[in-house]
Amino acid sequence: MTRYLLKRLGLAVVTLWLLSVIVFFAGQVVPGDPGRAILGNLADPRAVRALDHQLGVDRPLLTQYWSWITGLLHGNMGESYQYRSAVEPYVQAALVNSVKLAALAFVIVVPLGILGGVLAALRYGRATDRVISVVGLSAATVPEFVSGIVVIIIFAVSLKWLPVSASAGTGASALTQLDHLILPAIPLVFILFGYIARMARAGTIEALDSDYTRTATLKGLKPSVVIRRHVLRNALLPTITVIATQTGYLIGGLVVVETLFNYQGIGNLIYKAAQAKDFPMLEAGVLTIGVVYMVATLIADALSTALNPRLRLGTGG
């Protein structure tokens, strides 16, 4: 097990490194330079040069990358070009925000998606099933900005039930924050609902068709017991993994929602950092998402291992 974990960890590190290289060099070909991004489009070239020098971005590329990566190895993620201070607090704040939003979306969508998927499976082939499947699939592929706009028009503009901005302002109470986060969570819920429902449906159908469900039914157990004890437990195992891998997407894929709802999350942070060529910030953001994704998949693995006796106990016997 430890060997396996070490191997996974090694691969994860390689992936992250690859990610950092890609981002760094992709970021370099982006036109413009950090100094000008800070001082404005019409800034005096001498000022731009001076600032670039202060930032160290006039050094050769490899030197820049090297000093960044050695800094990273010493636990120093670098200093933001734009904000001229360590990037950690920014990334951390953005991550916390994103996690809040994602967590809310999850809290709503996980039960909903599982319920929908299980319901669809129990009504396999009937109208309920088709509706849930098609709605789920469509919700998952209608862009967030489309569904986001629709919910804004309905709930914020017309009905005025909920605030339109995701950030509640500094020091707002948890309840107020929740109030602000509900609308932005909805497009995410739409996107994820399809995924989760689909997996839950497939898992449930498989479990329903399985021999062990037949065994349980033919024992004379009540249908509710069969479903609860025998079907769901096995059906939802693969769903857990899917949910966890979606965490990665969710944390990172918030760009559009965060833009639409003016929310200072990690997606927004990366997007802005890329625009401003704020390389340390960009790298930190991207790597954070990478780490979150890997941790999420690792947790998913661990979770499904823990819940699945087949994996937990090996195949010995």
Binding site: G32, L39, A50, R84, Y90, V164, Q264
Partner: protein
């Protein structure tokens, strides 16, 4: 407009009670709040909350004394003497003296410090020209005569808040140290800032007990925040996204400004080498319709020169150019393009410029000119911002945004003077316009001190540019701010500040 930002303001019509907490929505500062590097609206707004300038360029573009009590030029207008206000202390207790002013001005004019104000001082002031005379007097020795120099010391040149002598500007964002009517309570990058009344303020104490600024990435949520009652004030909004604020339910503060778009045509590249071609394009535009479509009337017509109606020196006797398709076509024919031609327009994709570009392209089609529009993000568009390395400066047709200035000097020189790398003139001359008569007139205008001679030169420039039309100045749009109906006394300036010291809520 109403209210007044400074002690010298008198006509405060504040109906509301003092002691309120005013909440404002502004655009998020794009970087560190460092007086040296700030170059965006959110940042300059923050500087102005606690910092103060030598003087304030008010809503009518006249200068009011703030930390300077007076300023006088010598006869050539190349040495300006400023008297510094006495009895002022910084929020950290440090008393204000001429040393602080000298420190601040040397800081920004020294190229090594990479100040974003450097371009404004270019060709005007160098560190060696900043001289302390005594504790309350500072002299500025300019590189060339400049009748409008005090504007460079005003809120217009937004980086120039006075810092305590020796203060490290990189640390400013943790203290917001200044001399202004508010002191910093909290600042959270990318989220917002709160301020409280400076009880030791040297002038009229601020009315609000506190102010709260929330930063927004975009305009829409700001407007929704105002309509939803989350904030009292929206620092700035555009007509396109803010029409719902214009229905009378909100106080809209409308300031005429000199902000505009310059549509330059390469006067050194066929077919725009011929002034008739440039005129033809300009004649294809229906400016009143454009102003209606893009600004619902909240803009003034432009007439191919930077002399916006808001400038006192603008000569209004020069006739406004109007759409004339027939004339445009005949000019094209005369220039040898009877069936038109094709060309490309590259624009900076911000605000309404994309729409404007499309309108221009559609209008040009009517005279047979086929314009292929390409909109670019700022980084790609400006590139290195030098000739040969910038779509902005190199494109055949280029459409760029210029923010508000209280005097037209920069507009007259940087984009229109003959390019001369050594002398540093014409650095933003995207039209590659070169006209010695114009260069002379521009120099004369800059040096002129009195309004009547300015007006006279302005008339000549306007006529010249109308004939040459290197750049189409289509419109000068208004600067709009809004507050809730119960809020009075918010004082925006067209450069982007919103001063709340006289704001009140009822």
């Amino acid at each position: 407009s109403s209210g007044s930002p400074s002690s010298s303001g008198s006509s405060s019509a504040a109906a509301g009670k003092p002691g309120a907490t005013i909440k404002a929505a502004i655009i998020v500062p794009s970087g560190a709040i460092n007086p040296v590097t700030v170059a965006d609206q959110g940042g300059l707004d923050m500087l102005g909350q606690t910092g103060e300038y030598l003087c304030l360029s008010d809503q009518h573009l006249s200068l009011r004394p703030v930390l300077a009590t007076s300023w006088t030029p010598n006869t050539k207008a190349d040495v300006w003497t400023f008297k510094i206000r006495q009895g002022v202390t910084f929020h950290n207790g440090h008393p204000l003296t001429a040393d602080d002013v000298v420190y601040t001005y040397k800081l920004h004019t020294n190229p090594k410090n990479g100040s974003s104000a450097l371009s404004a001082f270019g060709g005007v002031l160098t560190p060696s020209g900043v001289k302390k005379v005594d504790d309350s007097t500072v002299e500025f020795h300019l590189a060339a005569p400049n009748g409008h120099f005090p504007y460079l010391t005003s809120s217009d040149n937004y980086n120039m808040i006075i810092l305590p002598n020796g203060y490290d500007p990189a640390k400013w964002q943790s203290t917001f140290v200044g001399t202004g009517p508010f002191v910093l309570k909290t600042y959270t990058a990318k989220q917002g800032a709160t301020f409280s009344r400076n009880e030791k303020y040297w002038g009229t104490k601020a009315l609000p007990a506190a102010t709260e600024f929330t930063f927004y990435d975009q305009q829409t949520p700001q407007i929704l925040a105002l309509t939803g009652g989350t904030v009292d004030v929206v620092g700035q909004f555009s007509v396109a996204g803010g029409q719902q604020l214009l229905n009378g339910s909100y106080n809209v503060i409308r300031l005429k400004s000199s902000a505009h778009r310059e549509l330059s045509m390469r006067t050194d590249q066929s077919p725009f080498t011929d002034a008739r071609v440039r005129q033809a394009v300009a004649l294809s535009l229906n400016r009143p319709a454009i102003v209606h479509a893009l600004f619902k009337g909240y803009a003034d017509l432009g007439n191919e020169s930077p002399f916006a109606p808001v400038f006192p020196s603008t000569n209004t006797t020069v006739a406004q150019r109007a759409q004339n398709i027939a004339k445009a076509k005949s000019l094209l024919s005369a220039a040898g393009h009877p069936s038109g031609f094709s060309t490309q327009l590259i624009g900076n994709d911000v605000q309404e410029i994309g729409e404007y570009a499309q309108i221009v392209a559609q209008a040009a089609k009517a005279i047979g000119v086929n314009i292929n529009v390409k909109m670019e993000a700022s980084s790609a568009y400006y590139g290195k911002a030098t000739f040969g390395n910038s779509d902005w400066l190199d494109a055949t047709m280029s459409l760029v945004d210029y923010g508000h200035r209280s005097v037209p000097n920069v507009f007259l020189t940087a984009p229109l003077e003959t390019i001369n790398a050594k002398a540093g003139t014409g650095p933003w001359n995207a039209a590659h316009f070169s006209n010695s008569q114009y260069d002379k007139l521009a120099q004369q205008y800059v040096a002129a001190i009195d309004l009547s001679s300015q007006k006279q030169i302005a008339g000549q420039i306007e006529t010249l540019l109308l004939n040459e039309t290197p750049i189409i100045f289509g419109y000068f749009y208004n600067y709009l701010s809004a507050t809730a109906k119960n809020v009075t006394g918010a004082y925006p300036t067209a450069i982007g500040h919103i001063f709340l010291n006289q704001a009140a809520k009822s």
